[in-house]
Amino acid sequence: SQTIHQWPATLVQPVGSPLSLECTVEGTSNPNLYWYRQAAGRGLQLLFYSVGIGQISSEVPQNLSASRPQDRQFILSSKKLLLSDSGFYLCAWSVWGSTEAFFGQGTRLTVV
């Protein structure tokens, strides 16, 4: 069966520090991978998606970047965090042609 792992679950980082959130998927090959951000009490904003290794599309200009070094690994990074980067970050995967996206448990990031 397919599983998605996202870590850490919670993170408190000072302004100006770097960020690295990792997401891995098991049990499937060549998934589409997504990073979403959810502000408190708000909806999901698509940040990045990837259809293959090294292929990253950015949906909104921001202080974040994403990389896909392996087929089932998706990393969200920042060189210098801003207060506005606080939020709930969700990784998700889907397969081509499917309408269902499977989400990880999320990382709650607080920038202080």
Binding site: N32, Y34, Y36, R42, G43, L44, Q45, L46, Y49, V51, L90, A92, S94, W96, T99, E100, A101, F102, F103, G104, Q105, G106, R108
Partner: protein, 110 residues
């Protein structure tokens, strides 16, 4: 940009009653519309989807209705239970991207 939005940010329903959660969308080119349920502190989970060429689809205790004329999507939950309390998102699926609306919080009253 194009987006999917919701009419009601919160909805309180008596246990046992039916719930109706509404959503307005703007992208007519979407292939599918999808409903997700998100419980506190967790990632969203798929509930049901509907293809853009359909107007109704039923699942277990849930029904999704699509009105393309007015670009409106709704999720009906029959006999709402305490476990249905969550935030519900509509989403559109176009070219393998999932665009989510802002969400509606459903509270089930005892």
């Amino acid at each position: 940009g194009e987006s999917v939005g919701l009419h009601l940010p919160t909805l309180s329903v008596q246990e046992g009653d039916n719930s109706i959660i509404n959503c307005a969308y703007s992208n007519s080119a979407s292939d599918y519309f999808i409903w997700y349920k998100q419980e506190s502190g967790k990632g969203p989970q798929f509930i049901i989807d509907i293809r853009s060429n359909m107007d109704k689809r039923q699942g277990q205790r849930v029904t999704v209705l699509l009105n393309k004329t007015v670009k409106h999507l709704s999720l009906q939950i029959a006999a709402t239970q305490p476990g249905d309390s969550a935030v519900y998102f509509c989403a559109e699926n176009t070219r393998q991207n999932f665009v989510f609306g802002p969400g509606t919080r459903l509270s089930v009253l005892p």
